[in-house]
Amino acid sequence: MSHDPDLIVELQRQAKQVRQMVVEMIAAAGSGHPGGGLSAVEILTVLYHHVLQVDPARPDWPDRDRFVLSKGHGAAGWYAALCTRGYFPREWLGRFRQIGGKLVGHPDMRKAPGVDMSSGSLGQGLSAAIGMALAARYHAKDYRSYVLLGDGEIQEGQIWEAAMAAPHFQLDNLTAILDLNGVQLDGNVADIMPIDPVVDKWQAFGWHTIECADGHDIEQLLTAFDAAQAVKSRPAIIIAHTVKGKGVSFMEHQATWHGVSDPDRLPAALEEVTRL
């Protein structure tokens, strides 16, 4: 399916903005998680600027689509997407991870508007997203539930308990996205604790799998989300091949930039993403 070229250009523009904000926030805080924030920029942008049925003026709207950032350390990416969508003023970003600010280091649903679930301890978000999807069914609502998982995160056992449950409940209103950037905190996923064959695993658990060869390509993501929404009687997972630290040359693919390994290089990172 081809998409409106104007939409694609607009989403690319938003993604660029989100990417800049991620680096800005982390530079202002002097700490945070650039790698996993940057790998999810396009996914979050497409979600917030196209896929999700939400209303920033009414963050508590009961019929809104839900989103869970299960890899809660990607908070900067989520906050930036929420900000560009109009949930809160840009000034808030400058107080990320700081005392008195509303943008807590890992998402806090009681502090920031638009945050549907608190997270930070990995492996728990898929279960919460299942709960949201089930609630929609019990309440006869047609909102959908989305959840973003890290590829290191799916080493947690709870993920597979949830992976077993969602197809059993036939949750076709649930879409998971796997941020397959190949890197976790201590190193490469393939070296620390391999997850392959990852697509086969989700299929074996009963999920409809959609591979997205380039999780930074807006059009590919749009196509993947369309496909996910069309699936009936079972949940779908978009397996998005991404680059950890995408957009900052010295951060790309580097486990050392999961967190901020050298605050002195953050200005250079900011310059790079501004030039993009």
């Binding site: 700081q98 005392i99 807590v104 301890s121 492996g123 056992g157 620390i192 604790m193």
Partner: protein, 321 residues
């Protein structure tokens, strides 16, 4: 002015683990994808054959440790304190504490020391949880030197031990001590009007509060309590008898931690006016470590205020020391 330790507790731990292995302890160090944060990677680089990274799978890590310990090894598991106290708690209880297996549990980034990561990463319930589990020993060092000693004591002790470590260098308060004895508290400052019992980084703050109190004519004794379980009941009983009032200070929720443990002893021995300095049953926010301590009721001022309250209550109930 406090002098700060040059190294953090986690670096002291990594060094101690290397020393313990080289001294012949049948050590196995495990981590769950936070080895750069916990510094277990330093041990792993020195002794790769004795290091296992199990990925982001804390429950599995505890289970593997149970198996290793059952076969006679001394596994040392590493992760963030809040994850070990909560995420893999059932595995700790069923597979380690219940069968009394020799596993050392290293709870890193404890209290507010994960700072800007926010409440999801702050460990404020771990002491209470660990203390309530039969067979567990619970140690809370105040600084890097004590962390090193406590680790050595832990690996020489046969049984499950929880060691609670802060992320960043802390003020040095313990380094003059010869050795670490599990179950022992230490009087750091003599005093006659009341006793401040502190643990972890709050020991340094208790010492500062004492200086402040001395200026207003109150002579406060300071007892450091790095061993929360077993607790040094004798030193508390003596403090209550000799000074007549107690303040506890801990970087932990007000329920279940040091304050609760001390109150239990006082209630059953020498009841005395007491105030607890701790987190007032809430989750905090992002912020720098010491900023959060000050904001959430753990400031030096808070200890001073609690001490003055105890003095007032002593007057009211007519405690003559």
């Amino acid at each position: 002015m406090m002098t700060f330790e040059k190294i953090a507790m986690r670096d002291a731990f990594a060094q101690a683990a290397i020393e313990a292995l080289e001294a012949g302890v049948d050590l196995m160090v495990l981590d769950s994808d936070v080895s750069k944060s916990t510094r277990s990677t330093v041990f792993g680089k020195a002794h790769p054959e004795r290091f296992l990274n199990v990925g982001i799978a804390e429950a599995n890590m505890l289970g593997i440790a149970a198996g290793l310990a059952s076969a006679g090894m001394t596994p040392v598991v590493n992760s963030f304190a809040m994850l070990l106290a909560l995420r893999s708690l059932d595995q700790l209880r069923q597979s380690i504490a219940y069968p009394r297996l020799n596993v050392k549990v290293m709870g890193h980034y404890a209290g507010y020391s994960a700072g800007p990561e926010g409440p999801s990463h702050h460990a404020i319930e771990d002491i209470g949880i660990m203390r309530s589990i039969p067979n567990m020993t619970v140690l809370v060092p105040s600084d890097a030197a004590e962390a090193h000693q406590a680790f050595m004591a832990a690996v020489q002790f046969d049984g499950p031990v929880y060691l609670r470590l802060a992320r960043n260098p802390a003020p040095a308060v313990s380094s003059h001590r010869e050795q670490f004895v599990i179950g022992q508290g230490y009087e750091l400052r003599a005093g006659v009007d009341l006793t401040i019992v502190g643990t972890g980084v709050m020991v340094a703050r208790a010492l500062e509060a004492t200086d402040r109190l001395a200026a207003s004519g109150v002579s406060a004794r300071v007892v450091a309590m790095p061993s929360i379980k077993p607790l040094d009941a004798a030193i508390i009983e003596r403090a209550a008898r000799e000074t007549g009032g107690i303040v506890t200070a801990e970087e932990h929720n007000i329920y279940g931690g040091l304050g609760s443990a001390v109150a239990e002893v006082l209630g059953e021995t020498v009841p005395a006016p007491m105030q607890r300095v701790g987190i007032r049953d809430c989750y905090a926010e992002s912020g720098e470590w010491f900023e959060l301590l000050d904001q959430y009721g753990l400031s030096v001022d808070a200890i001073v205020a609690a001490a003055l309250q105890v003095m007032e209550r002593k007057d009211q109930v007519g405690v003559t020391r």
